[in-house]
Amino acid sequence: MATVRIPTQLRSLVDGASELTVDGDTVGDVLKALDAAHPGFGERLFDENGKLRRFVNVFVDDEDLRFLQGLDTPLTERSVVSIVPAVAGGCERV
C-alpha cells in the first residue's frame, strides 16, 4: 500500500485525481495495480518491453527509484510514490 502522486499529464486517466492510495508491496506492483484499475495508465509509463520510459522518473519518498531497487523497491503504508517528467526532474507536491 502506498500513496501515489499523479502528474497533471496522467490525471485524465484517473478521473482527475492528483493522489491515489494503491495496494502493492513494491513500486512495480503499485504501478501494475494502477494500470489494472485505470486502463491506458501503463502504456504511458512503460515502453513495449515493459521498461519504464526513459523520460519518466519515479521517486519513492523523494528518492529517485534508480538509487533504490528500481521497480522492486519495497513500499510501506507510509510510502509516497511520485511519477514525474524527467526533463526538469520535477517532483510535484500537491
Binding site: Q9, R54, F55, V56, R66, V87, A88, G89, G90, E92
Partner: protein, 413 residues
C-alpha cells in the same frame, strides 16, 4: 523572421503548437522546436549573415524567436582563437578555442538566455526565473535587468560566493536552496506549475536550448564556412553538446554548407559527476544518475536531462566521452591560462584536461582540425584555483632585493 513552426516530442514524435510547454503530454519526452528549413534556405545566405548584427541574431531565422529590437539581448559572436601554443603542448595540429568567456556575463549561457527571454517577452511573461549552478543565474539576472523583467533565480546554497555575488548585483531575487542542483531543479519544476513565470530551463527550455546552436554556426562561419573535424564540449545536462551537433547539421540542411559535415563530437565531464562518461565507457545505453562531488559545479548535474541524446551523438559521430579528476581540472585551467592567456572556469578546466587525455589516448588526432569550447570565465570560480596560485615572491622595494631574488634573470642593457 523566425521560422520555428511547432514543438515535437523527441521520443514519440507527437507535435504541439508553439507554447511555454516542455514535456510531451503522452510519454513525458522532451519537446524540441521544428523549423521550415526550406523557407530558411530561401531567406538566409552567407552574405545576409555577414551583413547581420555581431551577435547570435545574425542567424535569426534558425532561432525559434523573432530577433528582439535593440541590444538588450545581445550575446555571442565571440572570438575563435587559434591555439598554437596549447596545440604544441598537447601534441596536436590545428587547434582552436571558442572563447565564450567573452559574453555579456562571461559564459555561453548568455546565448541561451537571450533566446529564452526573447521568447518569454513574446509569450507576455513579466518574470524570468531559473534553476542554476551559477552561470545561468548570472545570465538570467542580467538579461532580466536589461529587459525590465522581474527575476527569481534559484541556486544550490553551496555555490561559489563569486557566482552568488555576480547574480545578486543585478537586483533580482536570488534564492539559495539547501540541496544540490538536482534538488533545485525539482523545486523549480514544481514552482513552474504554480507560478506564471518563464523558467528558462523548464517551461521555455525547448526554445532556450536552441540558443546553443549558435556556437556551431559561429564556429563554421569563423572557419570560413568550414567545419572542424572534431569538437570537445563539456557536458552538464548534455544539451550544449547535442545542440552544437545539431547546429552543424542544420547549416548543411539550409544550404550554408555544401557538403554534409562530418564532425566528431567528444564530451568532457568531471569524474565526480560523470554519468554520461560512465555510460560511454561501460558501453551501455542507460545514463544512470549520480550524486555530484566535484569542484566543477557548473557541470554538477547528476541526472542530466539530455544525457541520452548526448551519448547518442558521441557514439554516432565516433567521438568519445572522458572524465577527469579535480586535480586535473585545476591543471587544465592553468595549462590553458599559461599557454593561451585565456582564463577559463572549472568547466574549461574539465574541457582542456579531457582534451589532453583524449589527445594522449589518440582519440583526438594530430591530423584533425579541433575546436574546444571554453564556456565560462575563470573569475567565476576563483575558489577552485585559489589554493594553487600565488605571488612568485615578496621583496622590499629595492633593486638589490630583486637581483637577489632572481639572480638568474639577465638585465637588459
Amino acid at each position: 523572421m523566425s521560422l520555428g513552426t511547432a514543438l515535437r516530442c523527441r521520443e514519440c514524435g507527437r507535435e504541439y503548437a508553439i507554447a511555454p510547454i516542455y514535456t510531451c503530454e503522452w510519454c513525458f519526452g522532451p519537446l524540441e522546436t521544428t523549423y521550415d528549413y526550406d523557407a530558411i534556405r530561401g531567406s538566409l545566405t552567407r552574405e545576409s549573415i555577414a551583413a547581420g548584427p555581431a551577435s547570435i541574431w545574425r542567424y535569426g531565422p534558425l532561432l525559434p524567436v523573432e530577433a528582439p529590437k535593440g541590444n538588450a539581448l545581445n550575446a555571442g559572436w565571440t572570438p575563435l582563437i587559434r591555439a598554437e601554443r596549447l596545440a604544441a603542448e598537447l601534441g596536436l595540429g590545428e587547434l582552436w578555442l571558442k572563447d565564450d568567456t567573452r559574453n555579456p556575463t562571461n559564459s555561453f549561457k548568455d546565448r541561451v538566455v537571450a533566446v529564452a527571454l526573447g521568447k518569454a517577452l513574446e509569450f507576455g511573461f513579466k518574470t524570468a526565473a531559473c534553476a542554476s549552478t551559477g552561470n545561468l543565474a548570472n545570465a538570467v539576472a542580467a538579461a532580466a535587468a536589461r529587459t525590465g523583467l522581474d527575476s527569481f533565480v534559484f541556486v544550490p546554497s553551496d555555490l561559489e560566493a563569486g557566482k552568488i555575488l555576480t547574480t545578486a548585483v543585478y537586483g533580482g531575487n536570488v534564492v539559495a536552496i539547501d540541496g544540490n542542483y538536482d534538488d533545485v531543479n525539482r523545486l523549480c519544476a514544481e514552482l513552474a506549475a504554480e507560478y506564471p513565470w518563464a523558467f528558462v530551463n523548464v517551461n521555455v527550455r525547448p526554445f532556450y536550448a536552441e540558443g546553443s546552436k549558435t556556437l556551431a554556426y559561429e564556429t563554421a562561419e569563423q572557419l570560413g564556412w568550414e567545419t572542424p573535424d572534431h569538437v570537445v564540449v563539456p557536458i552538464a545536462s548534455g544539451s550544449l553538446l547535442t545542440k552544437i551537433h545539431k547546429g552543424f547539421q542544420e547549416l548543411h540542411k539550409v544550404g550554408l554548407l555544401d557538403e554534409e559535415p562530418v564532425v566528431r563530437v567528444s564530451g568532457a565531464q568531471a569524474t565526480g559527476c560523470s554519468p554520461v562518461a560512465k555510460a560511454f565507457i561501460d558501453g551501455v545505453d542507460d545514463v544512470h544518475p549520480v550524486r555530484p562531488d566535484t569542484i566543477a559545479k557548473s557541470l554538477a548535474i547528476g541526472n542530466p536531462a539530455d544525457g541520452y541524446y548526448a551519448l547518442d551523438v558521441i557514439r554516432s559521430t565516433g567521438g568519445a566521452c572522458g572524465s577527469v579528476s579535480d586535480d586535473e581540472i585545476v591543471e587544465g585551467i592553468r595549462l590553458l591560462a599559461r599557454t593561451e592567456g585565456v582564463f577559463g572556469e572549472t568547466a574549461a578546466g574539465v574541457t582542456i584536461a579531457t582534451l589532453k587525455r583524449l589527445a594522449e589516448d589518440g582519440v583526438v588526432r594530430r591530423d584533425e582540425r579541433v575546436v574546444a569550447y571554453i564556456t565560462g570565465h575563470g573569475l567565476k570560480t576563483l575558489d577552485a584555483i585559489e589554493p594553487h596560485v600565488r605571488v612568485t615572491t615578496t621583496i622590499p622595494p629595492s633593486l638589490d632585493a630583486f637581483r637577489a631574488a632572481f639572480p638568474a634573470v639577465a638585465e637588459e642593457v
